[in-house]
């Protein structure tokens, strides 16, 4: 099983590298569409990037949980056969998705741009993961640390929201465009919350392991923030569709619930001093470095999300690159950093590898952090300019709206290239660890 899980983590890292590669190519195509128009236009390139990144995140999270489940519930039945079935079906479905893109077969749904028939295999794979995970967890004692609750919530809600995402196949749901849009973004928004639960749960687990302090995952504050996250997962998706003339309660509830996230910001500020002391103790650990970076990006993206969740401000930010800054800031700064920390822990990178390899990872880490900050700020500035052009100056000609935006987006392109190089260096180093680890059959996870 260990070899299979390591192989699956290697597969997730390859998806990350693909996501970076197609991200850079798609960004170049955005600026020079005429070069790509007859070969591979933007609307064909974007699905490769989006799907590779999306499946990197979900595969990395699921792979980490499968490995950690074995450690947390040591001695309980692991339902390994369903773990294997999940990996096989999941990998096959992703390969079929990329194959369908190669033949220009699209499903045309945001995030899920592949032919919808492939959703059946993904759903089957997820059911296998659920049987493997809950088959073990439900046999354990009821008093579980918060990360087990987070993993359980994430896995269960991904199943619900993924199913919900497919309701449009039933005519009743798609016969009203407003209903269709609302449900599509309800499910997509909550689905992001679902994989965040899986990933944040992994971050809590890693902090427990690094510090050796199990109370981190069992105190009242941890459970309070778990429930706050769960409430936001269920109710705050409405900020995606504030401008859609859907029922008013969606906007009211979402606005209200989103504002509870200020509590998380206050908690991060209050914990800043402890974090400084903690970082002095653990900063030599690679996993901790990635977790620390993710904490910084949680703070930055949370502030951005809070402003975007006020409808009066959302009027200026919606449909602009500020939304992209939020999406990429969270997927790269938070999700990817935690998952890289998790993989570094699984591969025991602090205990092995040459000095050069560790230096390469360190260089990749700093290059990616600095690049991401420039990348993120460039997108926000581009978004402000676009919002100003459209909402204040009321410019209606698209090319005129975009002319000043494109100037700022050049910074986004250049920093995006260095960001991709930085993360790719880390991913390649990790892949070398995976292959070395696979060759050494006795190496336990």
């Amino acid at each position: 099983m260990q070899a299979l899980y390591k192989g699956f983590i290697g597969f997730a890292l390859i998806l990350l590298l693909m996501g970076l590669f197609f991200g850079v190519i798609a960004a170049i195509a955005f600026f020079k569409p005429d070069y790509f128009l007859h070969m591979m236009p933007f609307q064909q390139l974007r699905p490769f990037h989006v799907s590779a990144v999306l499946f990197w995140i979900i595969s990395g999270a699921a792979g980490s949980i499968l490995v950690f489940k074995k450690n947390v519930f040591h001695g309980l039945p692991q339902k390994n056969i369903f773990g294997i079935a999940f990996i096989v079906l999941w990998v096959v479905s992703i390969l079929l998705i990329f194959l369908s893109y190669c033949f220009e077969q699209f499903g045309g749904r945001e995030y899920w741009e592949f032919p919808p028939v492939l959703n059946v295999i993904i759903l089957l794979a997820w059911i296998c993961l659920m049987i493997s995970f809950f088959g073990t967890v439900l046999k354990a004692a009821k008093d579980q640390p918060v990360y087990v609750w987070m993993w359980s919530t994430g896995i269960l809600f991904f199943f619900f929201t993924f199913t919900e995402q497919n309701l449009w196949h039933i005519p009743w749901f798609r016969n009203s465009f407003l209903k269709e849009m609302t449900i599509q973004w309800k499910s997509n928004g909550s689905m992001v919350g679902a994989w965040n639960q899986m990933i944040y749960g992994t971050a809590v687990y890693l902090m427990v392991k690094i510090s050796g302090d199990e109370t981190i995952a069992k105190n009242k504050k941890a459970y309070f923030f778990y429930f706050l996250g769960l409430t936001n997962l269920i109710f705050n998706w409405g900020h995606h569709i504030y401008n859609v003339p859907a029922a008013a309660w969606i906007r009211d509830v979402s606005y209200l619930i989103s504002m509870t996230e200020w509590l998380i910001v206050i908690s991060i500020i209050q914990g800043f001093k402890n974090k400084l002391e903690e970082s002095r103790k653990f900063t030599y650990l690679l996993t901790y470095k990635f977790l620390l970076a993710s904490e910084f990006w949680v703070f930055m993206n949370l502030l951005l999300a809070l402003f975007m969740s006020v409808p009066a401000i959302n009027r200026y930010t919606h449909g602009t690159h500020i939304t992209v800054a939020h999406a990429m800031g969270t997927t790269i700064g938070i999700n990817t950093m935690i998952l890289l920390g998790s993989i570094a822990y699984i591969l025991k990178m602090d205990a092995g590898g040459s000095k050069k390899l560790r230096m390469d990872v360190k260089a990749g880490y700093w290059l990616s952090q600095i690049s991401l900050l420039v990348f993120w700020l460039a997108l926000i500035i581009a978004g402000i300019i676009k919002g100003y052009q459209m909402q204040v100056l009321h410019v209606t000609v698209f090319s005129k709206v975009m002319a000043p935006v494109l100037e700022v987006l050049k910074i986004f392109l250049y920093s995006g290239i260095t960001l991709a190089i930085g993360i790719a260096v880390i991913a390649v180093c990790m892949l070398r660890f995976v292959s070395a680890s696979l060759l050494n059959a006795s190496d336990e996870l």
């Binding site: 236009p41 045309g108 465009f177 407003l178 849009m181 609302t182 008013a248 009066a312 449909g319 209606t396």
Partner: protein
């Protein structure tokens, strides 16, 4: 539950138009209600736009642009796509005007 606004059941042309919109992956570059890719403009209200309108949309779909490929759609397929965009347009407005913002920073939109 999700919408107070009633909308007409889509015709066969609209349904076909939606299928074309999805199979050509139009949302990768265009937005509806601000949701989608940012390569091209938001198309929610292109049909009711006094300067643009259905003829303008048809021309772009048929000929493509320096940024958008020519999809080689038949006349019927172009009409179906325009029918889909017309149906979307009738559902509401993508842009929220200043007078719709309440003192608490929320919106009060037409459907309420």
């Amino acid at each position: 539950m999700y919408s107070n606004k009633t909308s007409e059941t889509p015709s066969a042309h609209v349904t076909k138009g939606l299928a074309i919109w999805q199979s050509k992956n139009c949302q990768a570059c265009h937005q509806l209600y601000g949701l989608g890719g940012y390569m091209g403009p938001d198309l929610t209200n292109i049909i009711s736009d006094s300067i643009k309108g259905p003829a303008y949309a048809s021309t772009f779909i048929k000929a493509g642009t320096a940024k958008m490929p020519k999809f080689n759609l038949s006349v019927n397929e172009v009409n179906d796509l325009v029918a889909f965009l017309t149906w979307v347009d009738q559902s509401g407005h993508s842009a929220v005007t200043e007078d719709k913002v309440t003192p608490l920073g929320n919106y009060k939109l037409d459907s309420q």
